[in-house]
């Protein structure tokens, strides 16, 4: 796999002893890295290791505090903001960077609009957008507004935007975090194609199997320090994980505990129909971890939001502890012990301009009210507890949540939802953007919740996660619940078969 011919050539882009300090906090310590022409270079590390910061520096979005960047062997100062794109250096942000009120076509051509005789050539731009989207196997409408797209589709637009330019180096910060296996596969096909033409990629991901699949070399960061750069062929997932966390990892998944067949049913969904989801039926028992698998866009989140009361239902009913749950009343569901954790932590989960504590207690403020007013002491205590329990790591206690690393935001979101002490917890993509070590913690945490007698629904696009964690797995396809797998049946092949529509059995 290693790019033999390229080893000798001059790196397109190289970082020499890059350090970065925010205020008084140093987050990168003399990090080196070189990117060869036509290679895929994976950059891995725990949450908060400094990966996003490092590639923002290498793509000109932030200046380094010290150190040099070499372009074709020559020291350069990269122009600020996205001006480095003119040099062929493109960054796909971990946080989406699209203007919400533009259409897909407009965002693809933002800043380099095609014009004929000074008039925008909309038709040509639309056609080109369609071509790139088709190449990516994406069915997004090129005239759709960005604000109307689901997160996975927004990610696809970002990717389309990057590959539609003449890029020399494309930095991708967790591009597949919100994509399904299929979509990631399509992306990787495009990466291989462009790579053959000499484009280089830097690929940041917590999905180590993808790192093994696509990359030629791997660089590991830990706590802002360079740890190792090695050809991927000399490593395996286990070894990378160990380098990342600096110690040996025990088994990723906890042992499963299947609830008794006659255990009480805490949640039952009957004939639930929304605009897209048709006639969904399933039950959840006390102490159960039920998985929901399926392709992106199969209606899983829509179903869950309808159950929780965040979305209107057209038909059907939901019983929580045997009592019907009023449609469209999320607060009522909350009060009765049902919680929903969104997968869109930036758009719907966290107030990015506020601090950690405000976010943590937002959903459970009632617990911190004495004599009618908020008690900051009690909130601070809850924050300290949550930081310990969820291992939320920040170097500055009063940091705005928008400035925290992606993984730590995810942990904070989970902590926020758990503050409401729910009995039934629906978690949409529990480990989006989370490193292996933390993943393991979250898995054990979910298992512990189940052992306490709480019931959990895990919606996930990561199949190993659903398989490793759940005692039953529901599969959705195009708005229908097409399969319910149990015990031995739960395997990647089976789930895929249902998700792709090759198999189907009546559920309910």
């Amino acid at each position: 796999m290693a790019n033999d011919g390229a080893i000798a050539s001059v790196p397109v882009l190289a970082a020499e002893r890059i350090s970065k300090t925010f205020g008084e906090v140093q987050v990168l310590f003399s990090v080196d890295m070189d990117i060869l022409p036509g290679e895929v270079h994976a950059l891995v590390g725990e949450n908060g290791a400094g990966k996003s910061t490092f590639i923002k520096i290498l793509s000109g979005f932030q200046p380094p505090s010290s150190g040099r960047i070499l372009l074709d062997g020559e020291p350069v100062t990269l122009p600020a903001n996205s001006a480095a794109e003119a040099l062929g250096i493109i960054l796909i942000h971990q946080e989406f960077n699209l203007a919400e009120h533009l259409t897909v076509t407009e965002s693809l051509f933002l800043g380099r609009e095609v014009a004929r005789f000074g008039v925008l050539d909309r038709k040509a731009m639309r056609a080109e957008t369609r071509r790139v989207l088709d190449m990516l196997g994406s069915r997004i409408d090129e005239n759709a507004l960005i604000s109307s797209l689901a997160v996975a589709d927004k990610q696809m637009v970002e990717i389309a935007k990057a590959i539609s330019r003449d890029a020399r180096v494309i930095f991708m910060d967790e591009p597949t975090a919100v994509l399904s296996r299929e979509e990631a596969g399509v992306l990787f096909d495009q990466v291989r194609k462009l790579k053959a033409k000499g484009t280089s990629f830097v690929f940041v991901s917590h999905k180590l199997d993808e790192v093994m699949e696509i990359s030629d070399r791997v660089t590991v960061l830990r706590d802002g320090q360079w740890i190792k750069t090695a050809p991927t062929s000399m490593l395996d997932g286990e070894a990378i994980a160990q380098l990342m966390v600096g110690r040996e990892l025990s088994s990723l998944y906890p042992t499963k505990h299947e609830p008794d067949v006659d255990e009480t049913i805490v949640l039952s969904v009957r004939g639930l129909t929304t605009g897209y989801v048709q006639d969904a039926n399933f039950e959840l028992r006390k102490g159960e971890v039920l998985g929901f698998s399926g392709l992106i866009g199969s209606g899983r989140s829509e179903l869950m939001e309808a159950i929780a009361g965040l979305r209107p239902r057209l038909a059907g009913e939901v019983l929580l502890h045997g009592e019907p749950l009023v449609a469209g009343d999320f607060r009522e569901a909350n009060r009765r012990g049902l919680a929903y954790m969104t997968k869109d932590r930036k758009g719907m989960g966290l107030l990015l301009d506020e601090g950690m504590t405000t976010n943590l207690t937002l959903q459970s403020l009632g617990q911190h009210v004495t004599h009618g007013y908020l008690d900051p002491g009690s909130e601070a205590k809850a924050m300290a507890r949550a930081r310990r329990r969820f291992d939320i790591r920040v170097r500055d206690d009063r940091v705005r949540v928008g400035r925290m690393s992606g993984g730590n935001q995810q942990k904070l979101l989970l902590a926020k939802v758990m503050e409401t002490e729910p009995q039934v917890i629906i978690i949409d993509e529990p480990t989006r953007g989370i490193d292996v070590g933390t993943k393991q913690q979250i898995y054990h945490f979910i298992a512990a919740l189940a052992r306490e007698g709480r019931s959990i629904i895990v919606v996930s696009s990561e199949m190993p996660e659903v398989i490793g964690l759940c005692t039953r797995v529901a599969v959705m396809r195009e708005g229908h619940l097409v399969g319910m797998l149990e015990g031995e049946e739960i395997s990647e092949q089976m789930i895929m078969r249902y998700a792709a529509g090759l198999r189907r059995k009546a559920v309910g």
Partner: protein, 336 residues
């Protein structure tokens, strides 16, 4: 799983000057700067009587702006406050003129209660139109601005509405001209209203919800917050503040007209923005708002006392202030 020694051993961070939030401090710095300028322009300016006068005169805008802080923090805007002042004041005076209650003190109390109820109702109407009607607050309150103003003009037949009973007038006068322990009543009212507002905004569940709704409606909804209710209540608080301002306004002149309160919405919004509250919603700064209202009045006062700028330019100067305040706010946000 922490292998991070630097985190485990982290010493509590020292508080440095860098920790001070510039946006919170800027309005107060501007205020001090103005006081210095004023003192240079005219030695009488810095005298206690002059400053107390300025503060007293800023009362109407200050109190209305406190309400506007809630509306703006929750991500909305209320353009109708100026007309609302005129409308509530007219109805209050008309009620007192009606002689429905014989006993003057009882009449006064009833009229004050009426003003509070009408103010809140006007606020509620604004809130319901924006939330239930799903109309942009800018348009909704532009509409009610016309409605309240039009009704006032109709009630007054284009002229003035004057409190007729001299007995009531003398009974009510101290509400504006009186003192509490030597402090003019309007200043006391400003302080009390602001203290209550600050408590509500910073120390209650509702206040936190306002901030959440203003920062992101979606996040608030996914956190189980009743977004429409929070927004509507903010409009009601605004109406309540307008009513309190009216309670001070009526005893001052004992009359109101179709032109009462014109452009007050501009001044109230300016005070809020100068005070450091972001127009796009989110964190509100009540004390900053008061500071902003005081700054607006001070600028006018300095212009009066000085000889080089015509006081007819006050409107233009106040208009410039809101633009400058926005620019300063933006540059401070970028840095932090």
């Amino acid at each position: 799983m922490s292998t991070n020694s630097d985190i485990e051993e982290r010493v509590p961070r020292r508080r440095t000057w860098r920790d001070i939030d510039l946006r919170a401090v800027a309005p107060f710095a501007a205020l001090i700067l103005l006081l210095i300028i004023g003192a240079l322009v005219n030695p009488n300016f810095i005298g206690l009587t002059n400053l107390a006068n300025v503060a007293t005169r800023s009362a109407f805008i200050a109190i209305i702006a406190v309400g506007a802080t809630f509306v703006i923090s929750s991500g909305d805007l209320d353009l109708s406050v100026g007309s609302m002042v005129a409308f509530v004041a007219s109805l209050m005076i008309l009620f007192m003129n009606s002689g429905a209650i014989a006993d003057p003190s009882l009449m006064l109390v009833a009229a004050m209660v009426l003003a509070v109820v009408i103010g809140s109702a006007c606020g509620l109407l604004n809130g319901l139109i924006t939330t239930l009607g799903r109309i942009e607050p800018f348009i909704a309150t532009l509409g009610t601005m016309g409605i309240y103003r039009g009704l006032t003009t109709w009630l007054s037949q284009g002229g003035a509405i004057t409190l007729q009973s001299s007995e009531l007038q003398s009974l009510y006068r101290p509400a504006y001209f009186g003192n509490v322990l030597g402090v003019p009543v309007p200043i006391v009212v400003i302080l009390v209203v602001t203290a209550i507002a600050a408590f509500v905004l910073y120390r209650t569940r509702y206040g936190r919800h306002v901030v959440a709704v203003g920062s992101s409606r979606e996040v608030a909804r996914y956190s189980g917050i009743h977004v429409d209710r929070v927004r509507t209540i903010a409009f009601v608080i605004q109406g309540l503040c307008v009513a309190v301002a009216v309670l001070l306004y009526v005893p001052r002149l004992g009359s109101t007209s179709a032109t009462t309160g014109i452009l007050w919405e501009l001044q109230a919004i300016t005070a809020v923005v100068v005070g450091g509250t972001a127009l796009k919603g989110g964190a509100g700064r009540v004390w900053g708002t008061i500071c902003g209202a005081f700054i607006l009045e001070l600028v006018g006062n300095i212009m009066l006392l000085s000889n080089f700028i015509s006081e007819y330019l006050i409107g233009a100067i106040q208009g410039s202030i809101i633009i400058i305040a926005m620019l300063v706010q933006r540059s401070l946000t970028r840095k932090s």
